[in-house]
């Protein structure tokens, strides 16, 4: 493991205090909520390669459409505000 890897891991772990993974029983609850969702261990039927790629393109196109939505100015303003506060300190 390189130094960078270690640091990346530390960085990725920083939110673990507020945001730990769901435990077993919580996971089960989530599954009962979607009561037709198969349990994590149940076998998944294989889907046809054509359907897979068709679905893949749909997922990507639908997501890219969201990525292209105009970003509200408030986010840039937020960063400017954070910059400004830091410069004052």
């Amino acid at each position: 493991m390189t130094d960078n890897d270690k640091k990346a891991k530390t960085g990725l772990g920083l939110t673990s205090d507020t945001t730990k993974q769901p435990n077993q029983s919580e996971t089960k609850k989530v599954q009962t909520q979607n009561n037709d969702a198969p349990a994590e261990s149940a076998p998944v039927p294989e889907i046809d390669q054509h359907i897979r790629s068709h679905l893949g393109r749909k997922i990507k196109a639908s997501y890219d459409d969201l990525v292209r939505q105009p970003v509200p100015d408030k986010f840039l303003h937020l960063l400017e505000e954070l910059d400004r506060k830091e410069n004052e300190e």
Partner: protein
């Protein structure tokens, strides 16, 4: 602590549209998605000191966002369960969603699959993270991500009533693809 370097700042700004798309995909609600993005940016900013330049900033930001989403989701669910004794219809399809109507049928299907599967298929299938990166972001094993992606695909195919293997006519497929995908190809 001084602010982020211009490079990191630029990366942060460039990640915002993707963070919004990811947040909208997770919660299906524009207002809530924007709140999640804002919280993510604030949290990221205050922890930038621990972020190593050159490592994957986007993956780090996605991790923060999904952790915020899942902890908030658990909290909300408890509140809803306390109030009604069971899950309310609030988790049903929410009509408010940005984006083009062409994708509405797909987005409705996406909302019907479990959160963890939706997260996995978006990270891998839409955002283009590797299985390994997605596993790090979601804090689970690579095998778990693969399994969730498979389940998501299978469930989406069912919900969208895509033909089963065998009776899948190429004509029907290409017709849909031609109609649906020109936007994606421009990229």
């Amino acid at each position: 602590m001084s602010g982020p370097s211009p490079i990191v700042r630029e990366q942060l700004i460039r990640a915002i549209p993707n963070l919004r798309a990811f947040a909208m995909s997770l919660c299906g609600d524009t207002t809530r998605a924007d709140d999640l993005v804002q919280e993510t940016l604030l949290k990221a900013w205050s922890h930038l000191g621990s972020f190593q330049e050159g490592t994957n900033l986007k993956a780090w930001l996605f991790t923060i966002l999904r952790n915020l989403f899942f902890s908030e989701h658990r909290k909300r669910r408890r509140e809803v369960e306390d109030a009604d004794g069971h899950l309310s219809a609030r988790l049903a399809v929410h009509p408010e969603q940005n984006g083009h109507m062409d994708f509405e049928d797909f987005r409705i299907a996406l909302k019907q699959i479990p959160n963890d599967q939706r997260e996995a298929i978006i990270l891998v299938g839409a955002e283009g993270f590797s299985y390994e990166e997605a596993a790090t972001i979601s804090g689970c094993a690579v095998g778990t991500i693969k399994s969730r992606v498979n389940r998501a695909r299978s469930r989406l195919a069912e919900l969208l009533e895509l033909p089963r293997a065998g009776d899948f006519g190429p004509d029907r497929l290409s017709e849909t693809v031609v109609k649906r995908e020109p936007v994606a190809r421009q990229k």
